[in-house]
Point group: C2
Chain length 235, copies 2
């Protein structure tokens, strides 16, 4: 069934007006007619069922017939802060896959060894939105503006905090540490890994060092592995 992302929907209104672009897509491209059913997600957990009341090519009117709140709400909260990859396509596919598998918040962090010093959040958000629609998720993962590693460490976080790095030091792993149904924050470094001073700062700020297995993983693969592990362990 056709799905529309409608973050501006008013839960109290019996109707929703598709904007010009969506109306055109709905009526001219998909050729949906009066009475056809569509789905709406607001990105905040609500999934609406609606039918086309007035199939106008510029201002289609939908009638809301039912709403499901907290649709497929996950039983935990995952925030991954990762250094954006040198080749941004690699971060893009991480965002697509993480949205499919399950993630709540992403923050791009610029580290000492980051080759990429900035990211265009708007473009990345479009990829998240497309993946959210494709995988029928009612919650839109939050993508924060990029910050430096140092700035990020000053932000408070109520939950378990982990840093995945490649230095040969004492490490634990998520299987051993993770407390189910909690809030988790995981730091993933750039292609050249975190610097030792960054690792030390994180440990001093209450992060635990973890390993994601014996394989040498690319930045975006490590981030996805962490996302897999957290979702899998919370099943």
């Amino acid at each position: 069934m056709q799905l529309f992302y409608t973050p501006d929907i008013n839960p109290k209104s019996p109707n929703y007006f598709l904007n010009e672009e969506e109306s055109k897509h709905c009526i001219r491209v998909l050729r949906l007619e009066k009475g056809s059913e569509v789905q709406l997600i607001d990105g905040k957990g609500s999934l609406y069922a609606a039918i086309i009341q007035d199939p106008h090519p510029k201002r289609t009117i939908l009638q809301i017939i039912s709403v499901t709140n907290a649709f497929n709400k996950r039983n935990h909260y995952l925030h991954i802060a990762m250094a954006p990859t040198k080749n941004i396509e690699r971060m893009e596919w991480f965002l697509e896959k993480a949205t499919e598998i399950g993630i709540d918040e992403i923050t791009p962090i610029i580290c000492q060894r980051s080759e990429r010093k900035e990211v265009k959040v708007d473009r990345l958000n479009k990829i998240i939105t497309a993946a959210m629609k494709q995988s029928l998720k009612a919650y839109h993962p939050v993508l924060n503006e990029y910050v430096t590693f140092k700035q990020f460490l000053t932000k408070p976080f109520e939950g378990q905090k982990f840093i995945a790095h490649c230095e040969n030091t004492d490490k634990t792993n998520l299987k051993a540490e993770l407390i189910n149904n909690g809030k988790f924050l995981i730091l993933i470094g750039p292609e050249g890994d975190f610097s030792t001073s960054e690792i030390d700062e994180a440990l001093l700020t209450g992060f635990k060092a973890i390993t994601l297995g014996d394989s040498r993983l690319r930045t975006e693969t490590a981030a996805l592995e962490a996302c897999f592990e957290v979702n899998f362990l919370n099943r």
Copy 2:
């Protein structure tokens, strides 16, 4: 350290001759000199340490100084048979990521609902080789020629066999079923899922139906999720 993939290496020979392309890369591009150390992987589990004996731009001679056999040998065997994705790039990144995380054998299977009816295995193999080198794996995953789903089911397999599909039927999951350190074969369907007749055939052939979680996953994401779960459960 520079790594070369040398499937033709003779374990008994004290030397290895880089071919013209590799020699040029080694000497002209990387500007490595006599005495520099490099690593060689044969794709069959052996990792060699070697030094440059004669830095010839067309026929560099390496001297083998040590060999590690069964380097990072994994404790299980994973064969994923998947329908190639309509957009082949999606299968390409699956192969890259699965190689990083850990996989032994891949077979593209053409299913009733496959939109893509063929794949160029040579190109896909290059991606596997690059990922193997990047993630320092001594074993080269085997990519088989594509076959039809029906043909594939006639091939024997000694190990646990699973089919991941989206139909709403009785299913188990890998966490409950997987016997550690074994051999595993997992079937992943095309964008439109396996047909009910394909699912029935698989069940009759001894495959167990599994779920990979509640999320609606793309073909390549489902295949990677299966790869992740098998590796994670075998840790």
